[in-house]
Amino acid sequence: MDELIFFINRVLISGTVLGSIYALGAIGITLIFGILRFAHFAHGDMMTMGAFVAFVLASALAAAGVVLPLPMGFVVLPVAMIITALLALGIDKGFYAPLRARGAKPVTLLIASIGVTLMMQGLLRLIFGSSTKSMYVAGESKDIFRIDMSWAGGTRPISITEPQVIMFVVTALIVVALHLFLTRSRLGKAMRAMADNAALAQVSGINTALVVRVTWVIAGSLACVAGTMLALDVALMPDLAFNIVLPIFAAAIVGGLGHAYGAIVGGFLIAFAETLAVFNWTAVLRPLNAILPEGMALPANLALVPTEYKLTVAFVILVVTLLVRPTGIFKGAST
C-alpha cells in the first residue's frame, strides 16, 4: 500500500501539477500560433511577468494589512490576470503589430519575440533583482493536506499542498470555460474560424483585429494564472518560466499547434512523461524483492533516465514529434 501512496504522491500529484502549468502555458502558445502564425517565444516570460504582477498586488494587499484565509497570491489573481492581459495587448501593439502591418514573415516575428524575451528578462531583474522570492507575502504558511491512508493499510499519508489543490480546481475551471468559449460563443467560434482560414474569416466580415486582441487577452491571462500558480507551488524568480518555455512548446507541438485541446493533452502528456521517466521504480517494485531469486535484487535506483535529465525528456519528445509527426497528435495547423 505504501508503494501505491508513494506513486500517487510522486507521480500522480506532481505530474498533474506540472501538467496543469504546461497546459495553461501551451494553450496560449497554441492560440497565438493559430491566429498570428508565429511561435511566440516570449510566452515563458509573459508567465513570469504575470507572476510578478500577482506578487506586487499581493504585497500591496499585505502591506495594507489585509488578512485572508487563502494565499494572497491566489486572491489577487483576477486582477493580476486583467493587468497581464493588458500588458500582453501592449506588447503586441508595441512590438508585433508594426511588423505584421509591414507584412513581415513569421520568422521575423519569432525573432521579435526573442527581443521581447530579452527585454522582459532584463526589466524584471532590473526592477525586482535576481533573487528568489516567496509568493506568501503575508507570511501565510503553505498548508499541506495529509489524507490518512491507515484504513487501507498504508503507513504514510497522501499529501497535497493547498496551492496544488487550488491549481487543480482553477485549471479544471479554465479548461471548461475555454471549451464553452470556443464552442458556444460567437467570438470563440470566430477565433476557431480565423485559426482555420484567416483569409476566409476576413472575407466573412469577422473583425480580425478584434480576434487578435481577444487572443492576446486569453493568452496573457492564462499565462498569468500559470506563472502565479507555479510561483505559489515553488517560488518566484525572474527565470521562473523561461526554463520551462521549451517543454511548453513541446506540449503545444505534440498536441498540434493551433489546437487548444491538443495543447491541454500535450501539456499533461509531457508532464507525465517527464515525471515517469525520472521516477524511481524500485520504490514501487520493492515487494518484488521477496520473490526474486538471490542476487537478482532490484538496484537502489531504477529510473529510466537520471533526474538531472528530466527536462531533456521533453526535448526528446519534442524533437521526435517534430520529425515523425510535425502536425502533432491532433493534426494542428500544419502549413
Partner: protein
C-alpha cells in the same frame, strides 16, 4: 440607381495596376457575369470591390456611397458578400458553424436566415453537425454560398463557383444562383464556363487586360461573333 457601379476602376497589388479602368453596373434584379481570358483581371475586379487590393483610381459606388478600399468587416454589414474560389469553407468547423460565421456581423436573430439557407440547400441541414472539410466539392460550394448568404446580402459575388465541379453540380449551382437572384439578391460572378454562364446572365462583361472589351446582356454577347470568336472558343 444601380445597386453597384464601378467607374473606371484602377487598382493592383502595389506594382503595376492590374485593373486599368473597369466599368460595371448591376441592378438588384441582375445576374452579372464577368468573363475573359486568364489574367484579364476578372477575380481581381471582385477582390477590388471587396477591399482585398488597393484601388488607386475610379469609384465603386454601392448603395449610394463610394466604398473603394473599405475592408470586408465594413462591407459585409452594408450588404456585400463574397464567395472566394478556393478554400472557401472552414474545414475544421461544422456546417452550421460555417453558416454562423457568415452571420458574424449581424447582431439580430439570424435563425430565420439559417432556415432559409437550409431550405435552399436541404443536404446541408442533414449534414449540419459534420465538419465542412468532410463534404464533397459540390457540397462545400453550397456551404460557401450558404455562409455568404447568412449576412443577408443585397449583392452576392462569386468567384468561379463552378470551378472543379462535375457537370451535374455545375447545373445545380447555376440553378441555385438563379433562385437566389429571384429572392432579390443581385449577383456578380466570374466564370470560366463562359457560354453556359452567359446563357442565364442578364448582364455580361468581357474583360481583357484589365479593361472592358464588350458589355451587354448575356445573350447579346453570345450572339456577337467577335466575342464568340475571341472569348468563347468559336
Amino acid at each position: 440607381m444601380a445597386l453597384i457601379e464601378l467607374k473606371h476602376v484602377v487598382g493592383g497589388y502595389g506594382g503595376a495596376p492590374i485593373l486599368n479602368g473597369v466599368n460595371i453596373a448591376i441592378e438588384k434584379s441582375d445576374i452579372g457575369v464577368i468573363v475573359g481570358p486568364n489574367g484579364a483581371g476578372k477575380s481581381t475586379t471582385l477582390k477590388a470591390i471587396f477591399g482585398l487590393l488597393k484601388v488607386t483610381g475610379g469609384t465603386i459606388e454601392f448603395g449610394g456611397e463610394n466604398i473603394a478600399n473599405s475592408l470586408p468587416d465594413r462591407l459585409v454589414p452594408k450588404g456585400l458578400s463574397f464567395v472566394p474560389q478556393e478554400k472557401n469553407v472552414f474545414t475544421s468547423m461544422s456546417v452550421e458553424e460555417n453558416l454562423e460565421m457568415g452571420a458574424f456581423t449581424r447582431t439580430d436573430d439570424f435563425s430565420g436566415t439559417m432556415a432559409w439557407v437550409y431550405e435552399m440547400f436541404p443536404v446541408l441541414k442533414e449534414k449540419r453537425r459534420q465538419p465542412a472539410g468532410e463534404l464533397s466539392g459540390g457540397q462545400r460550394q453550397m456551404v460557401a454560398m450558404g455562409r455568404a448568404l447568412m449576412s443577408k446580402p443585397s449583392l452576392l459575388m462569386l468567384d468561379e463557383p463552378s470551378a472543379g465541379l462535375s457537370p451535374r453540380y455545375v447545373i445545380e449551382i447555376f440553378e441555385t444562383i438563379q433562385r437566389v437572384n429571384q429572392e432579390g439578391v443581385g449577383i456578380l460572378m466570374v466564370e470560366q464556363n463562359a457560354r453556359q454562364a452567359l446563357a442565364f446572365a442578364s448582364k455580361g462583361f468581357v474583360l481583357a487586360q484589365g479593361q472592358n472589351r464588350f458589355t451587354g446582356t448575356g445573350q447579346e454577347l453570345i450572339d456577337d461573333p467577335e466575342v464568340a470568336k475571341s472569348f468563347l472558343g468559336g
